[in-house]
């Protein structure tokens, strides 16, 4: 073992000790001090009620299936539409000026308008125009509203990624005779996307939770289900149950994505 490895190992040991003690201290402080607060019993009863949790959890889990379903079909749609809008906004040639304008208008409108309105307007409004039964489903139109809104956000992120790739990369690729499309696909986008993975992770996680907005127009997903229990039992514990379900899904996913990113970085340098 070299001098440097010894030193680093020692540093790591020391910091682990610090981490462990400080974490334990803080947790212990919370654990022992919070229950001394006068209202603790009531708060515990309202938010961390084991009995309620057990009672409501299975139904929450069942409702979560709807979230998963909506998420599963809207996420790819959002990725694709978002990318297309980003490309439209980034069109360089003067002939594509209309596309640029369209992209800008799209992002402005769908980011600017509150999601709830988009959900109501598309989820209630379009079916209200007189669509027959299977085609007026809130699942279809609600998903569309979600896709439109999120695409606007996602497009802006892709665009920032595209802008972050140095223009000399475009020049080098063009000089090889690649078309603008190929340059985008093979050279710019791979670097752009890698640069924005964390921001898109953000969006993915936010989307997962915003699937719940569809409950405004009917579908009883996990949030609405938790809300129903909350109203019924006058107890917020079902939300904690929902949060647990979300955390079980998102935390491993983000850790894994982080791990992949870090490995990629390490390999590269």
């Amino acid at each position: 073992m070299t001098r440097r490895e010894r030193y680093e190992a020692q540093q790591r040991r020391r910091s682990l000790v610090i981490a462990a003690t400080s974490t334990i201290t803080v947790l212990a402080a919370i654990y022992f001090l919070v229950p001394l607060a006068p209202g603790w019993a009531k708060v515990q009863q309202s938010f961390f009620n084991g009995e309620t949790l057990i009672k409501t959890f299975p139904k929450l889990l069942e409702a979560f299936r709807i979230n998963v379903m909506i998420f599963a079909w809207s996420a790819p749609a959002i990725a694709i539409l978002g990318l297309l809008i980003a490309l439209a906004r980034d069109a360089k040639s003067p002939a594509l000026f209309p596309l640029r304008i369209f992209g800008a208008a799209f992002t402005d409108i769908f980011r600017g308008v509150p999601v709830i309105l988009t959900v109501y307007l598309i989820g209630f409004g379009i079916p209200g125009l007189g669509l027959p039964r299977p085609w007026n489903s809130p699942y279809i139109w609600g998903t569309l509203a979600l896709v439109l809104t999120y695409s606007a956000y996602v497009a802006e992120i892709f665009r920032s990624g595209i802008d972050s790739v140095h223009h000399s990369q475009r020049a080098a690729a063009l000089s090889l005779g690649l078309s603008e499309r190929q340059v985008m696909r093979d050279v710019v986008l791979p670097q752009a996307i890698r640069n924005v993975v964390p921001s898109q992770m953000n969006m993915l996680i936010a989307l997962q939770k915003d699937v719940s907005l569809l409950s405004f127009i009917g579908p009883v997903e996990i949030f609405r289900q938790a809300g129903v229990f909350k109203s019924l039992l006058a107890n917020f514990t079902p939300y904690v149950g929902a949060a647990i379900i979300f955390l079980i899904v998102t935390v491993p996913a983000t850790r894994y994505a982080d791990h992949l990113m870090a490995r990629q970085m390490r390999e590269r340098r």
Binding site: S168, Q169, A171, A172, A173, L174, S175, L176, G177, L178, S179, Q182, D186, V187, P190, Q191, R194, E267, R268, R269
Partner: protein, 243 residues
């Protein structure tokens, strides 16, 4: 008919005129060297020839065809003109091999397998056989420079533009790379090269152009230009450069 012809090319960046009416003729199979002080516009001129920078005025002809017409299909022209940049500009997310194969696969429409022998030969010729699977960040400056050259050559261009490609090489490699250029020349490649290697320019160039402030002050066969420069600016530059 000259292979490449520039006619009064003007390029501005905002207020600053970087190429100020450059005319130049390059015959098929010729090697033309651009020399001149830093900032005299050599790199910019090469970028203009490759249509990476739109020019403000003048025209550029390849095989007699005006390639500087606005609205032309740039892609097909660029595939015929290769360029190696002063700053390499390798694609950081691809290995050396992928960097080289990308354009032939996309533009020439070949598969990896079809390209493999050809590309491996190129890598070997540039002493990079064991670096094919490294990412640019893992290569030394000289190695990156050579990958960039290989990348341009893999497109089998008709004209090659080199922008100080030996600047990051050690003298041994400079020799080797210049040997490759001589070989390309023997094979009939038309080349324009911005260089500070006066020795090479004298030895290999068919024509040397001296740039100053965005203009070609003087041009001619290397023997003439190096040994009997007519213009005072050229004389001053060469006096310092060959010292």
């Amino acid at each position: 008919m000259p292979k490449l012809e520039l006619n009064g090319v003007v390029k501005r960046f905002g207020e600053r005129t970087v190429c100020d009416g450059i005319s130049l003729t390059v015959e098929e199979g010729q090697m033309v060297c651009l020399i001149g002080a830093s900032g005299s516009g050599k790199s910019t001129l090469l970028r203009c020839i490759n249509l990476l920078e739109p020019i403000e005025d003048g025209a550029i002809y390849l095989d007699g065809e005006d390639i500087s017409i606005p609205g032309l299909n740039l892609q097909s022209v660029r595939a015929r003109i290769g360029i190696v940049f002063q700053s390499f500009n390798l694609f950081p997310h691809m290995t050396a091999l992928e960097n080289v194969m990308l354009a032939p696969r996309r533009v020439r429409g070949l598969t990896r397998a079809e390209l493999q022998p050809e590309v491996e030969t190129l890598f070997a010729r540039f002493g990079l056989a064991d670096r094919m699977h490294n990412y640019p960040d893992q290569l030394s400056g000289g190695q990156q420079q050579r990958v960039a050259i290989v990348r341009a050559l893999a497109m089998r261009p008709e004209v090659m533009l080199f922008d100080e490609i030996t600047s990051a090489l050690d003298p041994q490699l400079v020799g080797e790379v210049l040997d490759v250029l001589l070989m390309l020349k023997r094979q009939g490649m038309t080349m324009v090269m911005a260089t500070h290697e006066m020795g090479f320019a004298r030895e290999a160039a068919d024509k040397v152009c001296f740039l100053d402030g965005g203009r070609i002050i003087e041009e001619g066969a290397p023997e003439v230009l190096f040994d009997h420069p007519a213009q005072p600016a050229t004389q001053a530059f060469l006096a310092r450069a060959l010292k």
